[in-house]
Symmetry: none
Subunit: 249 residues, 2 copies
DNA sequence: TATATTATGATTGGTTGTGACTGATAATAA
DNA sequence: TTATTATCAGTCACAACCAATCATAATATA
């Protein structure tokens, strides 16, 4: 049985039964325990299942929502690696700003600190955080239908009264000369304000966003720490302008 | 049976029966008494159940609202009838307030007017409305994890600047003498404020909520129009105190 | 062809879950 | 009240499970 084939089989079985056991998989797939374990670990990294002692279960809350599946496929693996690394930076007691957007949304799955306070403008971030028992504050304002982000004057006003330890932001483009840019004016303002209000700011971008320019400037590169998934070809040059952290699973 | 599997089984059984006994679980799960006991202790730590001598019970008192998903199933058909009728009252050009809660959530799928402006404190209401191309404004503030409602001082402040044509509210109890009541102080304030700000206010309640009293008073009966699913036994008396509309699919 | 890269199964020592047992505590009956 | 029984939390040794490592086999790349 091929690796991919076996992993697909595991997911299929899981979807049918809701839970799989290492023992049973060893018998049914005729692979060794080590291999099954590796498969499960890998699939967990991809956020496809949850490992438990003796096997794995379905992720709760996530699998049923059909509409999300599509968006999350693009650069899924990279986003997960980045999100995981970003989430690991959160410490107990932190007050955090979470931007809207799919990469940041991935982060919510990996946040383990409960004693934190999260402010967000992303509707989709709310539920997974609440499920983890985390305090969530949603910014008030008009909601953009495309990104499900809260933006506008009210959102900025609402945001302004907070001070954050750390802000985590998505971004559409990052460039050595034109810095951080995004297509929407309103969202750009939100991001900029969040950077202003935060002790440290992290921008999460996969490697496809590098050396691109979008419409509205958000901030200079040196005001943030960039988190990405691999060292791209201009890595050294970027390092001279900003901090870069690489999440590698 | 894996640990997680067994614990899920315990919770499922508990939700079905309302109470579980250590003895019975030992037989049905084929685990030892020690293990079952450990499971129950663990689940109690997670606030999933309450341990009692000989087993465990659900933790649902008077101030303890059933979780969102459970509520969705409860009285589903009645809720749809009510929601449908309520949605039919919305007219083009209206500015609307939608409360959080499952009954109001049902409304969202029956709203056909696009040229309206909706303000809501219910996270779950946002997505279906956006999908229909409706303008949505979410109130900012702390989110209650159980009901996914935005509440608190900020939410009230945020709410106060609006004026609505119509407000649609859920309610936990309705009573001839004690009027409209709900278990949560913060949510009660939100509902009251919404009534203050709205030309007309509608309270959506299925027949099981009649002649009951909850903890915090929201408003007098005569300030709202009640929408319910059937004429209950005190119908005539209620009619003298308030307007009632009956949604019958 | 030679040389990386990746996937695999076996082995290790450490961790977690388990069942049996204990004496203590709570419910129930006399 | 006291006696009896059921249930309890705590401890122990053992089994199941785990991540980490290694050598080997399969596959890809030069």
């Amino acid at each position: 049985m091929l690796t991919e084939e076996r992993q697909k089989f595991i997911l299929d079985t899981l979807n049918k039964k809701g839970i799989v056991k290492v023992n049973e998989l060893v018998k049914t797939t005729d692979a060794s325990e080590s291999t099954i374990r590796r498969d499960l670990t890998h699939l967990e990294d991809l956020n496809k299942l949850k490992r438990v002692h003796g096997g794995a279960t379905l992720l709760e809350g996530r699998y049923n929502e059909a509409s999300f599946k599509d968006k999350l496929i693009h650069k899924q693996e990279e986003k997960v690696a980045i999100a995981k690394h970003a989430a690991s930076l959160i410490e107990d007691g932190d007050s955090i700003y979470l931007d809207a957007g799919t990469t940041i949304y991935e982060m919510t799955q990996f946040i383990n600190q409960k004693d934190i306070f999260v402010v967000t403008n992303g509707i989709d971030n709310v539920e997974p955080l609440l499920e983890k028992g985390i305090n969530v504050y949603i910014l008030g304002g008009k909601i953009k239908s495309k990104t499900k982000a809260v933006t506008g004057v009210d959102a900025i006003t609402n945001l302004s009264k907070f001070r954050f330890d750390k802000a985590f932001l998505g971004m559409n483009a990052i460039h050595l000369e034109y810095d951080l840019t995004t297509p929407d004016t309103e969202e750009a303002k939100m991001k900029e304000k969040a950077i202003d209000l935060s002790g440290e700011s992290f921008v999460l971008v996969d490697d496809s966003k590098f050396n691109k320019v979008s419409f509205v400037k958000v901030a200079d590169l040196d005001r943030v720490t960039v988190i990405t998934n691999k060292e791209n070809r201009h890595y050294e040059e970027y390092l001279q302008k900003t901090d870069i952290e690489v999440g590698t699973e």
